[in-house]
C-alpha cells in the first residue's frame, strides 16, 4: 500500500473553518474553560497513575489533549440537552458536572462509583446530568444518540442531543444509517466527530477515503464544519451555531473537531505509530489549556490567581483519588442486581 506508515508530524491540527479568528471569550468564560479543562487534565493524569499502581483495571482511555472539545461544547448547552459518547468518556462526564469522586470510584470498581462498580471506565451514566454513557462498541453511541434526538423530536421539546464519536467510529455503517434517518426526520442532533488523528493505531489517512469528516453528511444533506478542536473558543462558537441550527428544527449538524490525543489509545498502547516529536510539537504549539492560560496571563489575571485555580483542581482530584481507593468494593449481593428492573 502506498499510504504512509506514520502520519507526517507537521500540521497535525489545522483549522479550515473560515480562517478568521474565533470570537473572544469574556474573562469569566476563559476562567470557566480553564478550570474545567484543568480538572479533566489533572483527573486523567491521576487516573493514569492509579492505573500504573494497579488500582484501575481493564481498559482505560485517557482524554488528555482533547479537553477543549468537550469543554467548549458543554459551554454551549442548556439544561435538558443530552450528551452521549464512546469509551473515551471521563472528560465528557466531568464536563457534564458529574462528581469526580463517583467517576474515579467507578474506575477503581468501588461501590460509590456511578455504576456501583459494575460498569467501569467505559460505562457510566447520569440521568441527573443527562449523560447517557459511556459505550464500548465503536459507533453504537451514534445510533443511540440519534435515538435521544428522536425522543426530543417526539416530545416536541427544543432539546438537542450532542453525540460524540471519533474518526474511527466515523467509518462504521450504523453511523450513516443514523445520519440518513436524522436527516430524513430532521432530528435535533449535533454529531461531534473528535478527529484525534488516530483510530487506535491507524492514522486517519490510512483508514478514511475521505478524511474531511465535515463532508461525511453530504449524502444526507447534513451541513458540516471543520473546527480547531484545540481552541476552546472556536469549539464553543461552532457548538453555539450547530446547536442553534438544531433547536430551530433544521435537523442534524456535523462538527469535525480537529484535535489530538497525547496519550496512547489505552494504557497498554506503546504508541509506535507516531513519533515522540509529533506529540511534543502539538503539546508545545497547540495545547488547549496553555492557550487559555497564556491569554489570561496576557490579560489582567495574575499568575497567583491561576495557581489558586490549579491548587483547587488538584485538591478535588486528590480527594476523588482518595475516595476511590478507600471506598469498599461492591457488596457481593450486587452481582445479581440490576439485570432486570
Amino acid at each position: 500500500m502506498a499510504a504512509p506508515k506514520k502520519a507526517v508530524a507537521k500540521e497535525v491540527v489545522q483549522d479550515k473553518t473560515n480562517g478568521s479568528a474565533p470570537p473572544e471569550f469574556t474573562r469569566e468564560q476563559e476562567l470557566t474553560a480553564l478550570r474545567d479543562m484543568l480538572l479533566i487534565r489533572r483527573f486523567e493524569e491521576k487516573a493514569g497513575q492509579l492505573y500504573g499502581m494497579g488500582a484501575i483495571g481493564g481498559f482505560c482511555h485517557l482524554y488528555i489533549g482533547q479537553e477543549a472539545v468537550v469543554v467548549g461544547m458543554q459551554m454551549a448547552l442548556k439544561e435538558g440537552d443530552q450528551v452521549i459518547t464512546g469509551y473515551r468518556d471521563h472528560g465528557h462526564m466531568l464536563a457534564c458536572g458529574m462528581d469526580p469522586k463517583g467517576v474515579m470510584a467507578e474506575l477503581t470498581g468501588r461501590r460509590g462509583g456511578y455504576s456501583k462498580g459494575k460498569g467501569g471506565s467505559m460505562h457510566m451514566f447520569s440521568k441527573e446530568k443527562n449523560f447517557f454513557g459511556g459505550h464500548g462498541i465503536v459507533g453504537a453511541q451514534v445510533s443511540l444518540g440519534t435515538g435521544l434526538a428522536f425522543a426530543n423530536h417526539y416530545r416536541g421539546n427544543d432539546c438537542v442531543s450532542i453525540t460524540y464519536f471519533g474518526d474511527g467510529a466515523a467509518n462504521q455503517g450504523q453511523v450513516y444509517e443514523s445520519f440518513n434517518m436524522a436527516g430524513l426526520w430532521k432530528l435535533p442532533v449535533v454529531y461531534v466527530i473528535e478527529n484525534n488523528r488516530y483510530a487506535m493505531g491507524t492514522a486517519v489517512t490510512r483508514a478514511s477515503a475521505q478524511s474531511d469528516f465535515s463532508k461525511r453528511g453530504a449524502s444526507f444533506d447534513i451541513p458540516g464544519r471543520q473546527v480547531d478542536g484545540m481552541d476552546v473558543r472556536a469549539v464553543n462558537a461552532a457548538g453555539e451555531e450547530a446547536i442553534a441550527w438544531c433547536r430551530a428544527g433544521k435537523g442534524p449538524y456535523i462538527l469535525e473537531m480537529q484535535t489530538y490525543r497525547y496519550r496512547g489509545h489505552s494504557m497498554s498502547d506503546p504508541a509506535k505509530y507516531r513519533t515522540r516529536e509529533e506529540v511534543e510539537k502539538v503539546r508545545q504549539d497547540q495545547d488547549p489549556i496553555e492557550q487559555v492560560r497564556n491569554r489570561l496571563l496576557a490579560g489582567k489575571v495574575s499568575e497567583q490567581e491561576l495557581k489558586a485555580i490549579d491548587a483547587e483542581v488538584r485538591e478535588i482530584v486528590n480527594a476523588a483519588a482518595d475516595f476511590a481507593q478507600a471506598d469498599p468494593e461492591p457488596d457481593v449481593a450486587e452481582l445479581y442486581t440490576d439485570v432486570y428492573r
Binding site: Q82, I84, G113, Y114, S115, K116, G117, K118, G119, H123, M124, F125, S126, K127, F132, G133, G134, H135, G136, I137, A140, V142, S143, L144, G145, T146, G147, L148, A149, F150, A151, N152, Y154, G173, Q174, E177, S178, N180, M181, L184, T337, D338, V339, Y340, R341
Partner: protein
C-alpha cells in the same frame, strides 16, 4: 383443451383466501394479463390475471366465497374454437400435484373447500385442559386471528400510553409487511407509527436510544432474520445498559416480528432465534402460540420496563383463536401453560412447535399414551417450575423446537430437568428439533429439515419404551 385457473397464493404461507369479486363474466373473451377476479386475505387484496387467451368458460367458485384453498380451480378458460361442451376435459396448468389434491372439493360449488395444508395446522389448541387462570369464568370470547390479536394489543397500549410508538420497515403506509400493524397509522398518525428506511442496525439503535430517554418503542423487524444486523444494539445496548449503569438507566423497548421458518423461503429467511435471545441476561423473551397469548403477552411486553424480544411466527399469523373480551387482558411474562393434561409423557414446546406437539398428542392418545403438553410461552425467564412439576408426574419428557439442537432451548430444558428432577426420570429426555442444516428450499427437503408430529410421536413412544 380448456385451461383451469387456480386460486393463487399471495404469500409463501397463505393457505386460503376469499374470492371477493369476478371482473369477467362467463362467455366474455379474455386475453393474457387481463384481470379476471379479485381475491383477498386478512392481509391483502390481489388481482387474478388470466394466463391464457380465450373465453371465460365457467366460473367454478362464485364471488363472495370465503376460505377458498390455494390451488383450488376457480374458473376455466376455453381456447379458440372450444365450447362449453369441452369443459369436461380439463387441463391443469403445470400439472401441479397440489392442485390435483384440492380439485375434489371444488366440484361441489356450494361447499367451502378445505385445503389439505390448512387441515394440517390446527388453529388453536383443541384440548385445553385448564382454563387460563387470568380469565374470569363466563368471559365472552372473541374469535380473531393472531395477526389481529397482536394489532389490538399494540393499539390498546398506544391508546393507554402516549409514550408508546411503533417503528419499523413498512409498518405505517404499507400497513405492515405482514399486516400486523394494519390500521395503526390511521388511528395514531405518522408521529407514532413510523416507517423507517431499510436500516435495521440504525433504527434498532435509535429505538434503544429513545427508550433510554424514557419513551416506549415497539421496534418491528420485518423478520428476525434481519435483526441479526441489529443484534449488537439489542444485546450490547438494550440488554446490558441497566446493569452497566448500576440500575440507573434501563430501557423499556419491545423488539417484535416473525421468527422461525416461514415456507419455502430458504436458509437466510428461515431461522429460529429462540435460543440466541434466550441466552442473554437482561432480555426477556416471549414466543406465544395462541391468539389469546399473543394479545395478552404483547400487552405485558409493552408495559414491561425491560427490553423484551417478542418472537412471532409467520405461519401462525392467519390462525384464529379465542381471545377473552376483557378491558385489559394482560398475561404475566414468565409463565408456561399446561394446554393438555396427561400422565404418561410431558411434551414441551412453544410458538409453532406447539403445532407438532398438539398433533402428536392427538395421535398418541389414539394409542393409549396420554401426553401432557406444555406451551412455554416465555423462554426467558423460563418457567422451570411448571416443567419440573409435570416431569415429576410423568417421568418422561420430549422437547419440540424448530431451531437447531446444539445449545438450543431443548438442551437447556433437558439440563434443567436433570438438575431438578433427575430422580423422577424414567428415560432420558429426547429433543425433537430442526435438523442440523441451513434450511433447504426444495419442498421435500424443507419438510425433512423441520420437526414433524410423526417425530414427536416417535420420540414420545421411545421415552415410554413403546
Amino acid at each position: 383443451m380448456p385451461i383451469q385457473v387456480l386460486m393463487p397464493a399471495l404469500s409463501p404461507t397463505m393457505e386460503k383466501g376469499n374470492l371477493a369479486k369476478w371482473l369477467k363474466k362467463e362467455g366474455e373473451p379474455v386475453k393474457s394479463g387481463d384481470v379476471i377476479a379479485e381475491i383477498e386475505t386478512d392481509k391483502a387484496t390481489m388481482e387474478v390475471e388470466a394466463t391464457d387467451e380465450g373465453t371465460l368458460g365457467q366460473i367454478l367458485i362464485p364471488e363472495g366465497t370465503a376460505d377458498v384453498a390455494v390451488n383450488t380451480p376457480i374458473a376455466t378458460i376455453l381456447a379458440d374454437g372450444e365450447s362449453a361442451a369441452d369443459l369436461a376435459k380439463v387441463a391443469m396448468p403445470g400439472q401441479q400435484k397440489k392442485a390435483a389434491e384440492s380439485a375434489a372439493p371444488a366440484q361441489a360449488k356450494t361447499e367451502a373447500p378445505v385445503s389439505p395444508a390448512a387441515a394440517k395446522a390446527p388453529a388453536a389448541p383443541q384440548a385445553v385442559a385448564e382454563p387460563d387462570p387470568e380469565v374470569p369464568e363466563g368471559t365472552e370470547m372473541v374469535t380473531m386471528t393472531i395477526r389481529e390479536a397482536l394489532r389490538d394489543a399494540m393499539a390498546e397500549e398506544m391508546r393507554r400510553d402516549p409514550d408508546v410508538f411503533v417503528m419499523g420497515e413498512e409498518v405505517a403506509e404499507y400497513q405492515g409487511a405482514y399486516k400486523v400493524t394494519q390500521g395503526l397509522l390511521q388511528e395514531f398518525g405518522a408521529r407514532r407509527v413510523i416507517d423507517t428506511p431499510i436500516t435495521e442496525h440504525g433504527f434498532a439503535g435509535i429505538g434503544v436510544g429513545a427508550a433510554m430517554a424514557g419513551l416506549k418503542p415497539i421496534i418491528e423487524f420485518m423478520t428476525f432474520n434481519f435483526a441479526m444486523q441489529a443484534i449488537d444494539q439489542i444485546i450490547n445496548s438494550a440488554a446490558k445498559t441497566l446493569y452497566m449503569s448500576g440500575g440507573q438507566m434501563g430501557c423499556s423497548v419491545v423488539f417484535r416480528g416473525p421468527n422461525g421458518a416461514a415456507a419455502r423461503v430458504a436458509a437466510q429467511h428461515s431461522q429460529d432465534y429462540s435460543a440466541w435471545y434466550a441466552h442473554i441476561p437482561g432480555l426477556k423473551v416471549v414466543a406465544p402460540y395462541s391468539a389469546a397469548d399473543a394479545k395478552g403477552l404483547l400487552k405485558a411486553a409493552i408495559r414491561d420496563r425491560n427490553p423484551v424480544i417478542f418472537l412471532e411466527n409467520e405461519v401462525l399469523y392467519g390462525h384464529t383463536g379465542e381471545v377473552p373480551k376483557l378491558d385489559d387482558y394482560v398475561i404475566p411474562i414468565g409463565k408456561a401453560r399446561v394446554v393438555r393434561k396427561g400422565n404418561h409423557v410431558t411434551i414441551i414446546s412453544w410458538s409453532n412447535g406447539m403445532t407438532y406437539a398438539l398433533k402428536a398428542a392427538d395421535e398418541l392418545a389414539k394409542e393409549g399414551i396420554e401426553a401432557e403438553v406444555i406451551d412455554l410461552r416465555t423462554l426467558r425467564p423460563l418457567d422451570t417450575e411448571t416443567i419440573v412439576a409435570s416431569v415429576k408426574k410423568t417421568g418422561r419428557a420430549v422437547t419440540v423446537e424448530e431451531g437447531w439442537q446444539q445449545s438450543g432451548v431443548g438442551a437447556e430444558i433437558a439440563a434443567r430437568i436433570m438438575e431438578h428432577a433427575f430422580d423422577y426420570l424414567d428415560a432420558p429426555v429426547v429433543r425433537v428439533s430442526g435438523k442440523d442444516v441451513p434450511m433447504p428450499y426444495a419442498a421435500n427437503l424443507e419438510k425433512l429439515a423441520l420437526p414433524s408430529a410423526a417425530e414427536v410421536v416417535e420420540a414420545a413412544k421411545a421415552v415410554c419404551y413403546r
